[in-house]
């Protein structure tokens, strides 16, 4: 007798196409891959033209290992800007954590979050622990990456809020590289409450990756990352004068 074949139906097999959008970890779907690629091609062009988007330190993004990007959070542009700093194919395997109670409520929001942002639903209210465990599982799979905004919400003033310790629970005692990033200009371009993004310049500065294998205190990890992100917040005028050869 021949050995049995190993069929593995996708995990969301019995769901309807609409229900599938909210399933996470997201199952492979060639159709949405294609749509996502197309949307992001347009998005990258739009960021470049409308916001003259610039990325400094792209070479610091780790290759071939799962990693976490953390950044300040001032607008809905943030996740899209960070995704646009990555190599194009990586948008399919990089998940910005997005508040489940905001981004996964109505069908249009779910569709946008799942298809365009490729967001991971993060349950910050009822079950943050479980969501962090899900993040941990994702980071254990080669080729995956996460984008987190440890402030927990968009800034209402443009000033950074203290980092919550969740990022510490996730990365303390692990070798997962955490890449601090600072996105400059997003608050001016699209603050909370504004209808459409305004054509202000955006710049993403990527810092040296950190790992916290020897650190056990989540709060200390969050604090160090907060400092690392803040240190990238150089003066607006000096960044303009920065030598372009460093990009």
């Amino acid at each position: 007798m021949m050995e049995d074949w190993d069929y593995k139906p996708v995990d969301d097999f019995d769901k309807t196409p609409i229900e599938r959008l909210s399933v996470f970890p997201r199952q492979p779907d060639m159709f949405w891959y294609g749509v996502r690629f197309a949307v992001h091609a347009v998005l990258r062009l739009w960021l470049k033209v409308w916001h003259r988007y610039r990325v400094v330190g792209r070479e610091r993004i780790p290759e071939d290992v799962p990693f976490v990007m953390v950044a300040n959070h001032a607008s809905h542009l943030d996740a899209l800007c960070l995704l646009s700093a990555l190599p194009f194919p990586a948008i399919q395997t990089t998940y910005p954590a997005a508040a489940k109670d905001y981004f996964f409520t109505t069908l249009p929001k779910v569709a946008f979050s799942a298809i365009v942002v490729n967001a991971m639903p993060f349950d910050r209210k009822e079950n943050p622990r479980e969501s962090i465990n899900l993040c941990r599982e994702l980071l254990a799979t080669p080729g995956h990456a996460l984008i987190l905004f440890p402030e927990g919400t968009r800034s209402a003033t443009g000033e950074m809020a203290p980092f919550k310790p969740g990022i510490g629970y996730l990365t303390a005692g692990t070798n997962v590289p955490v890449v601090p990033c600072y996105l400059d200009g997003a608050f001016r371009a699209w603050p909370k409450g504004a209808w459409i993004p305004r054509p202000f310049r955006l710049e993403l500065r990527i810092g040296e990756p950190l790992a916290f294998a020897l650190e056990s205190d989540p709060k200390a990890v969050a604090g160090r990352l907060e400092e690392a992100v803040k240190s990238l917040r150089v003066d607006e005028s000096s960044s303009r004068l920065e030598n372009p050869s460093t990009t």
């Binding site: 074949w5 190993d6 069929y7 593995k8 139906p9 019995d14 309807t16 492979p28 060639m30 159709f31």
Partner: protein
């Protein structure tokens, strides 16, 4: 050709069937106080599907071909998701390309045609050669061996069975009697399914294939064959050019083929260990659960017609 007189007869027929089924469900539920929920859900599915199909056919040849192409793409997606082939984006993508190519070949004339011809028949028939060759190439390109036979085989079944065999239904749209043949199949095949179910319910004693489909009985199957043999005569007006021999053959193909198509998908589902191929159509499961019989019947009917009557 899309003869509007034939389409109109089928429209009346569809409306009549829906009205009859709707009345029967209402009677069952409110007069006889029976549980008709399942029948009702299935009925609602038909209420959506029939206008979609009839609408595509009313729009003409191109719309019909594209419509069936989309159904094949979705059907293959269900197959790939159920078998796990979906995780291999390269082979899945190649089969998608193959199905899209089939649709294009159904639409365009052969490049060397000297007179107007609908559809590139030669290339349509030859396409499985190229797609199979392409699928075999994928493990070679990636220098992989583990589990590759399974992926290759699933890709081939996916393309040849769901894409190409079902694709014959779309190619019928290029025939002289396009609307007549397509509508005949679209009506006769589900009617055979209904006959099998009904005869099985009333007379069913002997299980036909207990491992594959425990509810199917020989009695139901014979009933479906009898109905299948009668249907081509009943729909004779839409089978232009069919003589006695062709009507008998069409009856055998529909009466037996639709049951074999049903059983074939059941074999696949049982082997994987799932109940339905998907959940797109309420009360019907997935697209593949709905078109399973058509996949089997369409190419057989196509080649019989082409051989004896001409497309």
């Amino acid at each position: 050709m899309f003869e509007s007189a034939i389409i109109r007869v089928y429209l009346y027929f569809a409306a009549g069937l829906l009205l009859f089924a709707g009345t029967a469900i209402v009677l069952l539920k409110f007069v006889l106080k029976k549980n008709a929920d399942h029948a009702w859900r299935s009925f609602r599915g038909w209420l959506i599907m029939i206008p979609l199909v009839v609408g595509a056919i009313l729009l003409g040849r191109e719309a019909t071909i594209v419509f069936f192409g989309l159904i094949a793409l979705y059907g293959f997606t269900e197959f790939a998701r159920a078998t796990g082939l979906y995780r291999d984006w390269l082979i899945t993508g190649l089969v998608y390309l193959g199905i899209i190519a089939l649709t294009v070949l159904t639409l365009i004339p052969p490049p060397d045609a000297t007179e107007p011809v609908l559809g590139w028949y030669g290339m349509f028939m030859a396409l499985p050669v190229y797609v199979v060759a392409g699928i075999l190439l994928m493990p070679i390109l990636r220098d992989r061996t583990k589990g590759q036979l399974q992926l290759i085989a699933l890709g081939m079944v996916g393309f040849v069975y769901i894409g190409w065999m079902f694709g014959h239904l779309a190619f019928l749209a290029n025939g002289r009697n396009a609307a007549g043949s397509i509508l005949f199949l679209l009506f006769a095949v589900p009617l055979c399914d209904v006959a099998a179910f009904t005869f099985g319910k009333i007379f069913g004693r002997h299980k036909m294939r207990p491992n594959i489909s425990p509810n199917k009985t020989w009695e139901g199957s014979l009933g479906a064959l009898a109905v299948g043999m009668a249907l081509p005569w009943a729909f004779r007006f839409s089978l232009v050019g069919f003589g006695t021999r062709e009507l008998i053959l069409a009856g055998i193909i529909v009466g037996i083929g639709s049951q074999l198509g049903d059983l074939s998908i059941s074999v696949i589902k049982r082997d994987i260990g799932i109940k339905d191929m998907g959940s797109l159509i309420e009360g019907h499961g997935g697209v593949l659960d709905r078109i399973d019989s058509l996949i089997y019947v369409a190419p057989l009917f196509f080649h019989m017609t082409r051989f004896y009557v001409g497309l």
